[in-house]
């Protein structure tokens, strides 16, 4: 069930500007904080009383999240929209300034090019 938890990380961080800023600044710290404080809350409308205890990240998942490793996340079957959106939030601005519009998105495609013509890892849980 940890694929759910990876998606939950991407979903909850992408929609929160403060968490997103911390994820860019210090991903290791933010992932640790998320696992302690945010992941255990129900995904929507959760608080510190209503806790879910049944999910956790594997070591590989944690490592992929800490490293902003979108190739690994793609290969684990993280949802493509969440994976793309959060990485755009983290990197698009600096790539545009350096190499122009869509340069980050094209680099992402390039780094995933070994999947061309193959069945992608399923995003289905």
């Amino acid at each position: 069930m940890s694929k759910y938890y990876v998606n939950k990380f991407l979903f909850t961080v992408d929609r929160d500007p403060e968490l997103l800023a911390q994820y860019k600044e210090n991903p290791k710290q933010l992932v640790a904080k998320w696992e302690k404080e945010i992941g255990p809350r129900l995904a929507q409308g959760g608080n510190n009383e209503e806790i879910t205890s049944v999910h956790s990240l594997t070591d590989d998942e944690r490592k992929a999240l800490v490293n902003h490793d979108y190739v690994a996340l793609f290969e684990m079957g993280a949802h493509f929209f969440l994976n793309l959106t959060i990485m755009i939030a983290l990197y698009d601005e600096e790539y545009v300034a350096k190499n122009g519009p869509l340069s980050f998105q094209r680099e992402m495609a390039q780094k995933l090019s070994h999947w061309k013509g193959k069945d992608y890892p399923s995003v289905q849980l």
């Binding site: 969440l82 519009p101 495609a109």
Partner: protein, 286 residues
């Protein structure tokens, strides 16, 4: 009974507003052509003089998530907030507050249940870009009440293409049965071939231009038989990992019925084929 004066099926490209309002030095070369095509398309809705918009779209993990993702959902509210923080951030889409039509939403919900479509209903639905993009392109004043219908094209397993078409047929029956003298237009958005977060994303064309050409032909001819023969979950995946947005265009054909479209246009844009299609169930008012 309500009059269904137009059915619009279109792709939704979240960067339309940003691309066409950028300062001249930052404008992409196709911005003017894109704007002209969208404005021509807008006229097809304006000509139908709608009083209410029935909108079809899909939440992109903005409000709904894997903890509880509805297969089919209708909003039943007098007003709807629209545009999430991360859509403003990524696409530059502004926030809106749209009027709703609770009575029509309630009639639609009951009618769907009566026809075997057990919908979820939300009284706190916030609209995302799948509905706001077509508002921006086809009704930028955002001055009409909406009835929003959401489908799952996003978190598999998804309902079948036939189920989407049948849902469209049911929605049509319910619109036709709604006791009002108001004019309804149905406006739905989805995708042709599309890749997001994968190796075929953001190339010069969409990931499967042949599918795009065929899909436009099938839809514009009202050829649901060929669509149901040719389009499967697997075939859509082969055409691009986010191609399943085509299911909402099949739904719109279901609302229109197996008829030829009155207006068909497209734009081969960077990384997607944009499509603009309109049916006039009562005849072309233009």
């Amino acid at each position: 009974m309500a009059r269904l004066t137009a059915v619009l099926a279109t792709t939704h490209h979240p960067f339309y507003l940003k691309a066409t309002t950028a300062p001249p030095e930052e404008r992409m070369p196709q911005a003017d052509e894109w704007k002209a095509k969208v404005e021509a398309y807008r006229e097809t809705l304006t000509a139908a003089e709608p009083d209410i918009l029935l909108m079809v779209g899909s939440d992109h993990f903005h409000q709904f998530f894997y903890d509880n993702y509805p297969t089919f959902l209708i909003g039943k509210q007098s007003k709807y907030d629209a545009t999430f923080y991360n859509e403003e951030r990524e696409f530059g889409i502004p926030k809106y507050v749209l009027d709703g039509d609770e009575d029509f939403s309630g009639f639609m919900l009951q009618g769907l249940m009566d026809r075997g479509f057990d919908f979820s209903v939300s009284h706190e639905l916030k609209i995302d870009h799948s509905i706001i993009c077509p508002i921006i392109t086809t009704r930028p004043d955002a001055d009409l009440p909406v009835v929003p219908i959401y489908t799952n094209i996003f978190a598999p397993p998804l309902p079948s293409p036939k189920r989407f078409y049948d849902l469209g047929r049911a929605i049509r029956e319910i619109i036709d049965a709604y006791p009002t003298d108001k004019k309804v237009a149905a406006v739905g958005s989805g995708h042709l071939s599309l890749e997001l977060g994968g190796p075929r994303q953001f190339h010069e064309t969409g990931p499967d231009p042949e599918f795009d050409r065929n899909a436009i032909k099938w839809l514009s001819e009202g050829d649901i038989e060929t669509i149901l023969e040719q389009v499967t979950m697997e075939s859509m995946t082969q055409s691009g990992n986010a191609t399943h947005g085509f299911l909402d265009l099949i739904l719109m054909l279901g609302i229109a019925g197996p008829e030829k479209a009155a207006y068909v246009d497209n734009l081969d844009l960077f990384h997607t084929m944009e499509m603009y299609m309109t049916w006039y169930p009562e005849g072309d008012p233009r």
